[in-house]
Point group: C2
Chain length 330, copies 2
């Protein structure tokens, strides 16, 4: 058996821990090091006998790591970290600010090409597996339309927005696709759907002592961008109920494309991809780790520069060799 | 705009006509020629001003075609045609005898490498889009299991088997996935399912005058391999009803993988891909035509040899350029 692929993790939050768990499930990989901006000695990781270093020390360990997985946030961490770390390492990130992908790609591509490394950005499930499905489905059914729905799942951004309201002790927000909208899409009639028609938002809110529930509910439901364009339901619950019933981080969603075939577009066809995830960060990490394998192989083959999931042949994701895949999976 | 990709079709049955329809939907392609084993003058094709030649003349037209799409059958046509035509053309076929893919790959790879052509085999939806989804899902969730269900759809092979029974004038057979089995798979419990538990078979049969319905029904239900292992329903209908209600060729199915994540595999995740197709051959053709674009690009980049869908970066399937895809689809 070949030497295992040595994985490094930069940033040990939910995503970093998810990467650690995913590496454990892949016998052709091993966790080589964790890098953190916190005091390294304050970190307790799952895997025994793996060193934890300060993030600033990462470049000194570049020869010990085949692929460094960047587990920071898209708002401020990755725009700096990914081009920086691509100078030293093959990297994978989960940059998910869709509108800024082109500029992130350009910055990372320049750094990776200069260094001769491979840097795969925007990996996970959206962007990631959902992007793949949008691309495959639109290539196969050009006379059609695709739709993406998210949920049922926890939106961290919307939960945070509720927590910033005065009088709120804690909150959890679920994004829920509307069944009637899903059904309308599946008919193949290519409906035009408003924001309100596609998703609803359900909020579980713990109030601080003496807070005015009616005011909080009104502030939530009228909050621009976050809630005003949606049908929003607000439930006030106790902190005990929140911890008991809403401590998970589930998510999921649907990519559906319908398209016509036939000389006169007389036939309808529906392609549907869906995810139902008990753990959003663990699934995201699992996707990232599969792509880390592909990155190690692309780097070993002499490639360099910035890549996305759209550039990677599927066979490169699998531990098994191509002949085995043709025999068993094709 | 670049010169359109010139597509040739070899074999003008349901699949060949589907390719013709799909090429029409892709403005970066044009149909250059159709080759047939019938008398060329007997063929009437949809597209005006496209020449129809005898199949034996194909090699003489190799400089007029960028990708030749082979629309013959897997049993006897493609094992001969694909290696033969790969000597002259970049080709795509839909070879779907899963068990014989390795030997078909080897024969086609030798011919294509010797000729410097690109030959993509086993394209369509299963093998094809379903294979992709099995591979992606198993790479992402290694601690899991995948399941493939087919239907509801017409099985040509099973319909033919019924037609060979004495006293049968015509027949149509539908393969139907069992809802309870789908639901059991989605729970993540990785059930062991028998053939009988996964699919049922529904048959619509037109009897010849004087045929014994009870005997025909018994012969169907006890036919080894085809029906004996399934719960099979037989309906006797008139030829008019068959033509009115069962003349389409719908198909579809599901690829579902469930897998665990977390340090102790404590979380369940479900990936589900499904197709619901009004026209099996037209959808198959649509997949093939998208991969013909990728084949033209791989050949232009100097690649050669046999490929499958597992070897093709998704971006190569799309008419749009990679920067556009990153901006709009990722």
């Amino acid at each position: 058996m070949a030497e295992p692929i040595r994985i490094g993790i930069l940033g040990y939050g939910n995503l970093g821990r998810g990467v650690e768990c995913a590496v454990r499930q892949n016998p052709d990989m091993k966790l080589a090091a964790v890098f953190t901006r916190r005091a390294p000695e304050s970190l307790s990781i799952f895997t025994p006998d793996v060193p934890v270093y300060h993030a600033s020390e990462a470049p000194a360990h570049k020869d010990e790591i085949d692929v460094l997985i960047l587990c920071g946030g898209s708002a401020t961490d990755l725009p700096v970290q990914t081009p920086d770390m691509a100078q030293y390492f093959n990297v994978v990130d989960s940059f998910d600010t869709h509108a800024k992908i082109p500029q992130h790609f350009a910055a990372v591509d320049a750094a990776a090409k200069a260094a001769g490394t491979v840097a795969l950005i925007s990996c996970g499930w959206d962007p990631g597996m959902f992007s793949l499905n949008r691309v495959y489905a639109s290539a196969v059914l050009p006379a059609g339309q695709d739709y993406t729905f998210w949920g049922k799942g926890v939106s961290q951004g919307h939960s945070d927005a509720i927590r910033r309201i005065e009088g709120v002790a804690d909150a959890r927000q679920y994004t829920i696709p509307v069944d009637a909208a899903l059904e309308a899409v599946r008919t193949g009639d290519c409906p035009q759907l408003t924001t309100r028609q596609k998703h609803t938002r359900e909020c579980f809110v713990v109030l601080k002592d003496g807070a005015d529930a009616a005011r909080v509910e009104n502030e939530i439901k009228t909050m621009p961008n976050y809630f005003a364009d949606y049908d929003t339901t607000v439930h006030f619950i106790s902190m005990e109920e929140l911890k008991r019933d809403h401590s998970g981080i589930p998510h999921g969603g649907f990519v559906i494309r319908t398209g016509k075939t036939g000389w006169n577009n007389e036939h309808n066809n529906v392609i549907e991809y869906s995810l139902k995830l008990d753990s959003n960060p663990e699934f995201t990490s699992s996707v990232i780790v599969a792509y880390a394998r592909a990155v190690a192989r692309m780097a070993a083959a002499g490639q360099s520069g910035c890549k996305t999931v759209l550039d990677v042949p599927p066979a490169l994701l699998c531990a098994q060799d191509p002949a085995w895949l043709r025999e068993h999976m094709l």
